[in-house]
């Protein structure tokens, strides 16, 4: 009896040791991962890409019922406001027709001027549209997964847009999925131009909904309503894509509101402008 009790205790303590050893090992591995992740090796990127490639079909399957429920809800809501929408659309159409005339005139004038200057034409852009299947947005990071990858012509550095404006850039591409780093992510830094003043700045995400403007020239006087568009500096974006606008100035710091409605990212247009971007040329190396 005594003997059996003793061996049971010994067995239990051996088990406890093994248990503790496993935990120590696993915690150590997690710390090692953190260091490895900080080093940003291509191995990790490959692992990330294969995980999202493997999981994106599952997520797409799961996303479909959610999308249809949402569509039903949207349809019902639209139905109720049909009359108002119709009136506002008619007003919009009138206004847009005027703008169309203006745009045509400008296009003709632009063509004529380009012909006079013998301007080298920019390479034409190609794009694909893809469904957003995951937003890993959260407390620590702002990215989304889309269901288009290398197979569909998406490249690292492709610009992700909605009808409203720029959303972010493609940071990782798998065979049939890609990850888009949103402008609001803490590691997102893109060159921008203030449309009215032509001041250059860097739009830096900080995981909040209002990214900050860094490196504004001294004495640049922004006012609420100033539009912020992409800049060609760095060769990552073509110029003039809409990003957001200054909504307020708080203690001399401009607060930027992006044009994109974050809660409604359903489809993204991934545009490859064929620019010698920062991302394609290797980490941190500017052209």
């Amino acid at each position: 009896m005594n003997l059996r009790g003793g061996s049971a205790v010994r067995l239990a303590s051996a088990k406890a040791w093994l248990h503790r050893g496993t935990f120590v090992l696993l915690f150590g591995a997690a710390f090692a991962l953190m260091v490895l992740g900080k080093a940003d090796t291509p191995l990790i990127e490959r692992a990330r890409v294969s995980v999202i490639d493997a999981l994106s079909p599952i997520m797409e399957g799961l996303a479909k019922p959610i999308a249809s429920v949402r569509q039903l809800y949207d349809n019902a809501r639209d139905f109720w406001s049909l009359r108002e929408q119709n009136a506002s659309l008619k007003a919009d159409q009138e206004r847009l027709l005027e703008w169309q005339t203006v745009a045509r005139q400008l296009q003709a004038e632009n063509d004529a001027l380009r012909a006079m200057l013998r301007l080298v034409p920019e390479p034409s852009a190609t794009f694909v549209t893809a469904r957003v299947v995951a937003d890993n947005g959260g407390a620590f990071v702002r990215t989304v997964l889309v269901t288009a990858g290398l197979r569909d012509g998406v490249r690292k550095g492709s610009v992700a847009m909605t009808g409203e404006g720029v959303v972010g850039r493609v940071a990782e591409v798998g065979e049939h999925s890609a990850r888009v780093l949103l402008l609001s992510d803490i590691s997102s830094r893109i060159p921008v131009t203030i449309e009215r003043t032509r001041d250059q700045a860097i739009l830096a995400g900080d995981n909040s909904d209002n990214p900050r403007l860094l490196y504004l020239p001294h004495g640049s006087a922004l006012t609420p309503g100033d539009r912020i568009v992409t800049s060609t500096a760095g060769g990552a974006f073509p110029g003039g894509l809409p990003i957001g606008q200054v909504v307020a100035i708080q203690d001399g710091v401009p607060i930027v509101q992006l044009f994109v409605a974050w809660d409604r990212l359903e489809y993204l247009r991934l545009v490859d402008y064929k620019l010698p971007g920062v991302l394609q040329s290797g980490a941190g190396k500017l052209q």
Binding site: A29, A32, L33, N136, G137, F140
Partner: protein, 171 residues
């Protein structure tokens, strides 16, 4: 003979339930829900799952499996690698060590335990992400994520309890 093989297979599949549910909560937590005015909050559903199973059936969700789920979550989410893994392991280890305190207790006690442990884990997550990210992150999203995760615990916990009753009764 064949009966016993099928019986074993059946048992084996049932025992996978905690892992399968944890993986499912990881995937669903990453889905875009497109709720109006609902910005991504980073609710950690796997944290709920890991806490629940650590208290109720730790044998079916061993530490290496928790590590694996955390790793997949980190790779999927583009968050600082290792941070999510560490948090899940931490929640698991603490819940397991305090298991006697919570096992068989009324629901409110178990929820209170989750409140405490998740608060510690989320704060640590915020600190680690700030260190890895190189600069203090805005704490607001983390606080929202914590509150949302806390609020979802009763619903998810109930779901897991149902699963436990229906899949694991015999085991």
């Amino acid at each position: 003979m064949t009966f016993s093989i099928f019986h074993q297979l059946d048992n084996w599949a049932r025992n996978l339930a905690p892992f399968a549910l944890t993986m499912l909560s990881l995937i669903i937590g990453n889905m875009p829900l497109h709720l109006p005015y609902f910005v991504p909050l980073g609710i950690s559903l796997p944290m709920i799952s890991v806490y629940y199973w650590a208290i109720h059936r730790p044998g079916l969700l061993p530490a290496p499996v928790v590590f694996l789920v955390g790793l997949i979550g980190d790779l999927m989410g583009a968050a600082p690698l290792g941070v999510g893994t560490l948090l899940l392991l931490l929640v698991y280890a603490v819940a397991l060590s305090q298991r006697r305190l919570f096992f068989g207790q009324p629901f409110l006690v178990v929820w209170w335990g989750f409140m405490m442990i998740a608060a510690g884990a989320m704060s640590l997550g915020w600190i680690l992400s700030s260190i890895v990210g190189g600069g203090a992150l805005d704490p607001k999203p983390t606080i929202f994520a914590y509150l949302m995760t806390l609020a979802l615990y009763p619903a998810l916990g109930d779901l897991f309890a149902r699963a436990q009753r229906s899949f694991l009764r015999s085991a």
